[in-house]
């Protein structure tokens, strides 16, 4: 199903009237029409993950429907591809797109990462191997770097592990000790690994070769309620999905607060429990708007 991506005057007026505009430092998130349907007109159902790849490829973990969806963004057009429904992936909650167009999906029930080919076939599970494997992992979030190396937020061992294509652990970065709740993971363009902690509401960073994470921000309790996901763009912006606060917080690459797009609601431009996000090459921010059962889309402008 193809949908014209041209925002109508009515849509713009409605979104402008209802969406709380971004504040400060010139970064604006302007609501665009969201993604609601698959290629046959079937609706999304509580999607929890979204990933942006090269060549305009967008993948969605359509969690409530137990499937993966993919779309192509070409100019102002978003075209839905056939769904991917696999018995090995009954409850996908997060997804990543490799440079070859493969999908890596984290299953929330099995708590395993599956590799899916570009044509939608199950290739296999990615299991960490090597001296640092240390028994079962509990993957909470996944991300890919520019070399397609899989990063896994392993909350059982309180670490982020980096795997090669064969699953061998090539790097391990420890998370700060203490009773914390790490939820989201992303890799910046410079290879820095970023993790968001939900209770203290702060972001941690590990630069290349770091063995441990260190705070990028202080506790941001005034700016976020319960963040669970984050994504970066190529202009140094860090976008944090505040799941309980139903908003998007924008930070600079140094962790400085740049603004917040807030709004819990049903109309376009508003969010209800955003649980995943990614930045597409066309200056678009896509958000897995879970309780609105859609992918909300914003254009990022400065």
């Amino acid at each position: 199903m193809t949908r014209r991506f041209v925002p109508t005057c009515l849509t713009l007026a409605l979104a402008a009237a209802l969406a709380v505009p971004l504040v400060a430092e010139g970064v604006r998130l302007r609501p665009q029409p969201g993604i609601y349907y698959d290629d046959s007109g079937g609706g999304l159902n509580h999607p929890e993950g979204v990933a942006c790849g090269g060549a305009g490829l967008v993948a969605v973990a359509d969690t409530g429907n137990g499937r993966l969806l993919s779309y192509r963004i070409e100019g102002e057009t978003i075209t839905a591809q056939p769904e991917i429904r696999l018995s090995q992936l009954p409850h996908p909650i997060a997804v990543a797109v490799t440079s070859k167009g493969e999908l890596l999906a984290l299953d929330g029930r099995l708590r395993r990462v599956a590799r899916v080919s570009g044509s939608g076939e199950f290739v296999g599970y990615i299991e960490p191997v090597g001296d640092n494997a240390r028994g079962p992992t509990v993957p909470r979030a996944i991300a890919l770097d520019g070399n397609d190396a899989l990063h896994v937020l392993d909350i059982f061992h309180s670490r982020v592990i980096v795997l090669d294509a064969g699953g061998a652990i090539v790097r391990q970065v420890s998370l700060p000790a203490g009773r914390r709740s790490y939820s989201g993971l992303t890799v910046a363009g410079d290879g820095g690994i970023l993790v968001v902690e939900s209770v203290e509401r702060r972001v941690y960073v590990a630069k290349k070769d770091d063995k441990t994470f260190s705070p990028l921000t202080g506790p941001m309790k005034d700016d976020m309620a319960f963040p669970t996901a984050l994504a970066t763009d190529d202009r140094g912006h860090l976008f944090v999905a505040d799941e309980y606060g139903s908003g998007i917080v924008i930070l600079g690459s140094d962790g400085s607060f740049r603004g917040r797009q807030s709004g819990g609601g049903w109309t376009e431009g508003l969010l209800r429990y955003p649980s995943g996000l990614c930045v597409a090459g066309q200056g678009l921010l896509l958000v897995a708007d879970r309780e609105n059962s859609r992918i909300s889309v914003f254009s990022v402008t400065e």
Partner: protein
């Protein structure tokens, strides 16, 4: 000449001191007595065994301004500022805990500023004073079958009434150092009672209620059976190991041995409460030894959930119309603390069935809801209770998302708006 100059200096000093003391230029002999001419009731107070020194010296004006004041009781300044003029240093430079009335400068909640039957001008003696605020603890201690002897001697056996730099809860020394002051961990009986595990390095209050208990050994009310049966090595490695307090496995894996049904139910569900399966696992919420709360919870449900879901409780505090289960901290009425196959960890297949466990909605509302009723705002959604109601509470009657008199219905019924 030097002698004369010295005498002059002494006289000048004495005069200036007297003036400082008598800044209101009272007539000779009037200090204190002039106030008693009107405030006759104080005569009786002055006969009490413990009289505040300025009162005894008749220095009423040290605390009160006899002419006018911006403070109650004609106090010369804020109460905390008056007391700290003489009683400074009650709060250490880096306190680990401060008694809230002290932090707020409410000294007279405990101390009578004039006179008292009790030492230190306390308004009541012993635990009677502490019990005015900590009545539940005092009642528990006095009603316990097995009593802790320092508690019987008084709260100040262990607690500093003002502040402590040693530990939380105003303890004079932190646990276990405080406990080891009386309990000799090197004694064979101590080691045997603890199955030779080096618990002197651990927190005694993880197992023991320091105020008293109905369980022998002063164990907390709810005791984990392996502990009650002295089977420490069911979870812990051998006491002769290099790290004897370590558990045999990590996180929920160590609990699975006995609680396989619970753990397996968690790991096979679609949606898991993530703390249940991180490295700390069950111990994020449960005390593995003994606890005051049922189900070995570390704290009552509301503060326990609120320790992570702070924003939820903060919002609830600010909410005008609260849903009673949320207000009363009955989080697990609506949310499974472990896992579920339903969003929001509901222990029911869907929202309507969840709310229907308490609300017979079919009798009070004919508004269409259900899996077949499409939400006009978004065709991917169906109408259920939380389409209109905020389940924790909201500013509006019946905790609707929007004002039910103006804004709520017209979201869908646009043609009916004003």
């Amino acid at each position: 000449m030097v002698v004369l100059l010295s005498l002059a200096a002494i006289v000048t000093l004495a005069a200036s001191t007297a003036r400082a003391q008598d800044k209101f230029r009272l007539k000779p002999g009037a200090r204190g007595k002039i106030c008693l001419q009107c405030h006759t009731a104080f005569e009786e107070g002055l006969q009490l065994p413990f009289v505040h020194t300025p009162v005894k010296e008749g220095a009423c004006a040290d605390c009160h301004n006899p002419h006018a004041s911006s403070h109650g009781k004609l106090l010369a300044a804020e109460p905390k500022d008056i007391c700290s003029n003489c009683h400074s240093g009650l709060i250490p430079e880096k306190p680990a805990s401060v008694h809230p009335p002290v932090a707020a400068g409410r000294c007279i909640e405990c101390h009578d500023p004039h006179a008292s039957q009790n030492k230190n001008n306390l308004r009541a003696g012993g635990e009677a004073l502490c019990g005015t605020c900590h009545g539940d603890i005092v009642a528990h201690a006095s009603g316990s079958r097995f009593k802790h002897s320092p508690v019987e001697k008084g709260c100040l056996s262990c607690h500093d009434p003002h502040a402590s730099d040693a530990g939380g809860s105003l303890l004079k020394k932190d646990v276990p150092v405080l406990c080891l002051g009386c309990h000799r961990s090197e004694q064979p009986a101590f080691a045997a009672a603890h199955r030779n595990y080096p618990v002197a390095n651990a927190r005694c209050t993880s197992c023991h209620d320091p105020h008293g208990s109905d369980n022998a050994g002063l164990l907390w009310a709810d005791v984990h059976p392996p502990l009650a049966n002295r089977m420490c090595n069911q979870c812990h490695v051998d006491p002769s190991s290099p790290d004897p307090l370590e558990t045999k496995r990590q996180g929920f894996e160590v609990c699975r041995g006995c609680h396989a049904d619970v753990v397996n139910g968690i790991v096979t569900s679609n949606r898991v409460h993530w703390p249940a399966i991180d490295g700390t696992g069950c111990l994020n919420c449960h005390n593995p030894h003994a606890a005051k709360e049922p189900s070995l919870l570390r704290e009552p449900v509301k503060p326990l959930c609120g320790s992570c879901h702070q924003a939820t409780l903060e919002n609830l505090d600010k909410t005008a119309v609260k849903h009673p289960p949320a207000e009363q901290g009955e989080c697990i009425t609506c949310h499974s603390p472990h896992a579920s196959d339903t969003g929001f960890l509901l222990p029911a297949p869907n929202v309507i069935e969840m709310c229907g466990t308490c609300h017979d909605w079919q009798r009070h509302s004919t508004h269409p809801i259900g899996e077949k009723v499409v939400d006009p705002r978004n065709k991917n959604l169906t109408l259920n209770c939380i389409s209109c109601h905020e389940p924790h509470g909201s500013p509006h009657k019946s905790f609707t998302h929007l004002n039910p008199d103006a804004d709520l219905c017209v979201q869908c019924h646009a043609g009916k708006g004003r």
